[in-house]
């Protein structure tokens, strides 16, 4: 349990770092570390496939994409953030932490839930058999993403209005 809470705290801390760090590359990297923590939490929650996906895709692929973007937009792209933002963050964070804690504590035993039966079958069966529709939708999302990138990076010379 303690380990789990430590991991969760690590996740939150690195996420906060990803937001507060001035250097975008470092921010992207700490986001990757946060993903790593999340992946480990997934493993420990008996969700190995999700953990693998989280680590490989989010910590890997998405970080690479971020790094690429940062590299492409590096030149004189310094954006001055308001200083107050970073200074005020701990204050707000603590306030929200307290509110969040209080709310969750008050919800304990308050929210009824239906008992769940034990699951049968394997991960593959669940994915392929009972969530087949998600695969169709995934294909759709991937297609949309690919087409979106194609559309956004299409060659300009054909555009008549430019």
């Amino acid at each position: 349990m303690i380990i789990q809470i430590l991991l969760l705290s690590g996740l939150v801390i690195f996420s906060i770092l990803a937001i507060l760090l001035k250097d975008l590359l470092k921010a992207a990297l700490s986001l990757a570390v946060a993903s790593l923590f999340l992946g480990i939490i997934f493993f420990r929650l008996d969700a190995p496939y999700a953990g693998v996906f989280e680590i490989s895709v989010v910590a890997g692929l998405i970080t690479v994409l971020f790094a690429l973007t940062v590299a492409l937009t590096r030149k004189d792209s310094e954006v001055k953030e308001a200083r107050l933002t970073r200074l005020a963050f701990p204050l707000f964070f603590v306030i929200f932490l307290i509110i969040d804690g209080l709310v969750m504590k008050s919800l304990l035993q308050q929210v009824p839930a239906l008992p769940a039966g034990p699951e049968t079958g394997s991960f593959g069966e669940v994915l392929w058999k009972s969530r087949t529709f998600d695969l169709v939708a995934q294909l759709g999302v991937i297609l949309a993403g690919v087409l979106a990138v194609l559309a956004l990076f299409r060659k300009k010379e054909e555009d008549k209005d430019e």
Partner: protein
């Protein structure tokens, strides 16, 4: 075969970029229009089984093995499918000539088809998580389409739209997760049954608030509307028509009310919240529309206002109110589609959308002027056009349910609506001809054709509204009005 509504556009979208390599224009045009025409035809064919059987499931077999690819059809989602197919067909017809401005037909059509597939999927699915997924399918395609022109305004609008949408869908998914936690399942039927057994008012209330925020942002309810007046005008005209005419209704209104009515169950408190939000949207957006100089921006604000009417009607909770809301949804889809396409025509003809630069176009482009007038009057609720009936039914339903204040708001705002539409009509089409537009010509064939079809729809639905109402609206309204029972009845 209801699955064709998802698979045909998806498959075609996957093929189109390849086809586009060797045929730049003709084949993508033909294929896309043919596919959507087929879907329209299909949706009309489906009305008979739905009317006779009420609602039913459809499954797919994979080499004899029953995989869990299941969708349900009832009056409500068939009505949405019909609206989507009808309006998107007109939009692609319009695009045949309009896309000369942008090029890359294949890519454009592929994105558009993915969006259609996303909307169709969202309408057909029977579990909460799939709702979220297809919402994202349509949304990702729409981000790209809004930015399709790649100008700085388009990119700005698209980025803001994306960033606000992402927050909304995160909350939707969070809410779905909590419901999953409460009931242990995701399918509409199981969740509906579970929530009935469960007395979890608090948690469900918070979930509902998240849903209202998430889907409300998709539907552009005030105060979640800020992305819409940026995104809809910036997109190419057919996409504006698509977004305003369909996407906000499918991913906002349909999803919200399907969940509220059929899964969670409508309560008087919820009805009050939604009606208040609808009324606020109507008034605020109508006032904002009055101050615009850009035709499309004015139309975009008008969309917010009209979605307010739809939500006001649907949220009353009486069968008549639901019918009015759905009828207004259909009429607004047709008329706003028409108006945005028309604004595309105006931009095509003159190169500007600024109302102050236009003037007197009516003499030069009578068809565009005429169709624009019909669309505007229909939305403003002028008899005998379609929009009059739907607004009237909403107002009657409000009075019937003794919501006199809201009825008053609805009535007064429709005067505002008429006002700003007449503003467009006067500034763009009436009055003396601006010297700059001496040499303009009427829009090309397919653009005018699409406009005329939609204008005729506004007119004919208004005149023969009884058959339309009885065939499409009544079954849909019945399906919603039965509430949770509707979902529990599926498959029986």
């Amino acid at each position: 075969m209801a699955f064709s509504f998802i698979f045909i556009p998806l498959l075609l979208a996957a093929c189109l970029p390849l086809i586009g390599k060797f045929s730049k224009k003709l084949i993508p045009d033909v294929l896309t229009n043919a596919a959507l025409a087929f879907l329209l035809f299909n949706s009309i064919l489906l009305i008979k089984p739905v009317l006779s059987r009420g609602s039913f499931f459809e499954n797919i077999n994979w080499f004899g093995e029953n995989i869990n690819l299941q969708i349900a059809l009832d009056g409500f989602n068939l009505f949405m499918l019909f609206t989507i197919s009808l309006v998107s067909l007109c939009i692609t017809l319009f695009s045949i000539d309009y896309l000369k401005h942008y090029g890359h037909q294949a890519n454009f059509y592929a994105l558009l088809l993915v969006m259609v597939a996303g909307m169709n999927g969202l309408v057909l699915v029977i579990d909460l998580f799939s709702v979220y997924l297809f919402l994202e399918v349509a949304a990702v395609a729409s981000y790209a389409l809004v930015a399709f022109g790649l100008g700085s305004e388009e990119l700005e609008a698209s980025f803001k739209y994306l960033m606000l949408s992402v927050v909304a869908s995160a909350f939707i998914l969070l809410s779905i997760t909590v419901i999953f936690g409460l009931t242990g399942s995701l399918s509409f039927q199981a969740v509906a049954r579970g929530l009935q057994d469960l007395n979890a008012g608090l948690a469900v209330g918070v979930c509902l608030a998240f849903f209202i925020m998430g889907f409300g942002l998709k539907a552009a309810l005030v105060p979640f509307h800020a992305w819409l007046p940026d995104a809809h005008p910036s997109a190419p005209a057919p996409i504006s028509a698509m977004l305003s005419g369909l996407l906000i209704k499918v991913s906002g209104v349909y999803a919200l009310f399907r969940i509220v009515y059929s899964v969670i169950g409508m309560t008087p408190a919820l009805s009050r919240v939604l009606m208040a939000m609808g009324a606020i949207s109507i008034v605020v957006a109508a006032l904002l529309a009055l101050g615009q100089n850009d035709i499309k921006r004015m139309l975009a604000y008008s969309s917010i206002s009209q979605v307010g009417y739809i939500i006001l009607g649907l949220a009353i909770g009486t069968p008549l109110g639901i019918a009015g809301g759905l009828f207004h949804l259909f009429n607004h889809a047709v008329a706003k589609g028409l108006l945005f396409l028309n604004s595309g025509s105006i931009q095509h003809i003159t190169g500007t959308r600024n109302l102050n630069e236009l003037g007197g176009l009516g003499k030069k482009v009578p068809i565009t002027a005429g169709t624009n007038l019909i669309g505007a009057l229909s939305i403003a609720g002028v008899p005998p056009l379609a929009g009059f009936w739907s607004k009237l039914i909403i107002i009657i339903a409000l009075v019937q349910a003794k919501h006199f204040g809201y009825a008053l708001v609805a009535v007064l705002a429709s005067i505002l609506t008429l006002w700003y539409y007449l503003l467009i009509q006067r500034k763009a089409f009436f009055g003396p001809l601006n010297e700059r537009w001496q040499k303009i010509k009427e829009a090309p064939f397919w653009m005018t054709t699409a406009n005329i079809i939609l204008a005729l729809l506004c007119l004919l639905v208004g005149i023969f509204f009884t058959p339309v109402f009885n065939t499409w609206i009544t079954p849909a309204a019945d399906a919603l009005a039965r509430g949770v029972q509707q979902v529990l009845m599926w498959g029986i």
